[in-house]
Amino acid sequence: MFQRLDTAATPTRHVQVWLDGEPHRVAETLTVAAAVLQLRGWQGYRRHVDGTPRAPLCMMGVCQECLITIDGCANRQGCLEPVAEGMRIERQGGDIHDG
């Protein structure tokens, strides 16, 4: 998991997102992938097409390991999409391991 330092430098608004059906409040500066790494960590982030577990590698739009379902659209690059109020985020095969 990743944790937010409590000495953050700029007061930052938080937004509510829904991750796998559960509500959470996260800093609005985060991208979807960053929010998931804070809320759930890298375990169970994504299941790859070959069946192996995967998680974000680069966080800058290069590796495509952060693919995730956002507001019902599958395979969005989670590291490029900023979080937004009311956003629904679903990990792809995370806890379900359904390949």
Binding site: Q3, A8, A34, W42, M60, Q77
Partner: protein, 466 residues
């Protein structure tokens, strides 16, 4: 196919230091450049979130804050800044460049008279056994989390690889009172002595060397263990990393850890330049391909490349090259003043000195070209299509003589990252096996779309011009 074009007199791709500096310089000269950037805010990776910093200055260090002046100038200038825009297609001819831009789920067609590519660098894909496991992340990715939301690992990570970023991130974690468990440096300790013998370069590069010495000194004083000269690295675990294995002084060691942050240097993000068919040459010092540019940083007709996307020079050099490209472009249009021409000469001289000094860093953090040969056969090279080194070896034995043949044989490079993570590993492997140079081996043919785009997004083109 697509709707009528929007026109941009000068288009810039990327809003990192190079793109921002080019845009500000052009805006000062009376132009209004259009800047396309993938991210939500300007700054690139180096100055990410600097408009509203999340981690404190005490944690980030002063180099991060250094971008503030440029960022403010960019935000205040009259620039058509288009955040959240991915340039997924480009086609260049004598009249300019046509661009396909994906923004807010719609695709737009643009026609740019002049194009400046300032797409920056990416962390080098550097395969080792287990690098696809959750719990292995790039050190740069971890630093992005720090910048984006003051996020730090909840457990002390192992940091491994080579390059200044490894020590900078370790130092930042230390400043945040979250020191790493262990640092594994590929560079042997003797290298640090060797580079000091290059007296002229060491003098030119004294700022880099002193900065590095300060970071390493602080980490050592804090008791962070550092192993220099590791020769192999592996991540092991069932569904995520559980332990890190490494070879040091000829012996294997195991460190239990659930988070391994690796960094093996950076390379130009190649996709758009490659898809435009620009010539690339292997840079032996930087150990990667770089696009060919002339002395004015032009890479084609009405086409320029500034910053790390044209070869690795770091943030300050990227800013310098952004200004240089803008001045070259103005000179081309006979719009420069005598003062600007003098400024251009001074920038070129500073660039020469800086790049000369950076040869030291290249030497210091040089990666072993034979690394991939030492990996076990099951090591994934292409993560997207799960192609191992063993499968690539077999394909080479069966007659795969080039990157595009290996692609056809094994599907390496055909996944969603489009070869960004494996391309140069495949070139390197072929060069080793066939005894050729990377230039002779070449690289994948890169074709648009260079970003993933759905058919729906392609179809949802703008109904009318804005």
């Amino acid at each position: 196919m697509m709707a009528e074009s929007r026109n941009a007199d000068i288009a810039i791709v990327g809003a990192g230091p190079a793109g921002m500096a080019a845009a500000v310089t052009l805006a000062d000269a009376g132009y209004r450049p259009t800047v396309f950037d993938m991210n939500a805010a300007p700054g690139g990776q180096i100055y990410r979130q600097l408009h509203a910093p999340q981690a404190s200055d005490a944690v980030m260090g002063k180099d991060y804050r250094r971008g503030r002046e440029l960022l403010d100038a960019f935000l205040q200038a009259d620039i058509d800044h288009r955040p959240g825009s991915r340039v997924w297609w480009a086609d260049n001819d004598a009249s300019g460049t046509a661009l396909g831009v994906l923004a807010r789920g719609q695709t737009q067609r643009w026609q740019a008279r002049q194009l400046i590519l300032a797409g920056g660098a990416m962390e080098r894909g550097w395969p080792f056994r287990g690098w696809q496991l959750p719990g292995v992340m790039n050190a740069g990715a971890a630093q992005i989390l720090l910048k984006q939301g003051a996020l730090v690992p909840s457990i002390p990570p192992v940091l491994a690889g080579s390059g200044p970023l490894l020590y900078l991130l370790a130092w930042q974690y230390l400043r945040a009172a979250r020191p790493p468990a262990l640092i594994l440096d590929v560079a042997p300790a003797r290298r640090y002595g060797e580079v000091l013998h290059q007296v002229h370069r060491a003098w030119l590069g004294r700022d880099y060397l002193l900065k590095g010495a300060r970071l390493i000194g602080a980490l050592k004083r804090a008791g962070v263990p550092i192993r220099q000269g590791i020769t192999a690295l592996e991540a092991e675990g069932d569904t995520a990393v559980e332990r890190v294995r490494y070879r040091h002084k000829g012996r294997w060691h195991t460190q239990p850890s659930e988070l391994l942050l690796t960094h093996f240097g950076v390379t130009p993000e190649p996709q758009l330049a490659r898809s435009l068919g620009l010539e690339h040459v292997w840079h032996a010092g930087q150990q990667c391909f770089v696009p060919r540019r002339d002395a004015t940083l032009a890479a084609g007709t009405n086409l320029w490349i500034a910053g790390d996307g044209g070869g690795i020079g770091g943030a300050l050099n990227a800013e310098r090259e952004g200004r240089l490209v803008a001045l070259s472009l103005l000179e081309n249009e006979q719009r420069t003043t005598a003062e600007q021409r003098r400024e251009g000469q001074a920038l070129l001289a500073a660039r020469r000195r800086d790049l000369e000094a950076r040869c030291l860093l290249e030497r210091l953090f040089r990666l072993p070209e034979s690394w991939l040969d030492d990996q076990s056969a099951e090591t994934l090279v292409c993560r997207c299509e799960s192609v191992s080194r063993g499968e690539l070896d077999l394909a080479i034995t069966q007659g795969g003589a080039g990157p595009n043949q290996l692609k056809a044989f094994t599907r390496c490079g055909m996944g969603p990252c489009q070869g960004r993570q494996c391309g140069e590993s495949v070139t390197r492997l072929l060069a080793q096996r066939l005894g050729g140079t990377p230039d002779a081996v070449g690289y994948y043919h890169i074709r648009p779309p260079v970003h993933s785009i759905t058919l729906g997004e392609l179809a949802a083109r703008e109904a009318s011009r804005a």
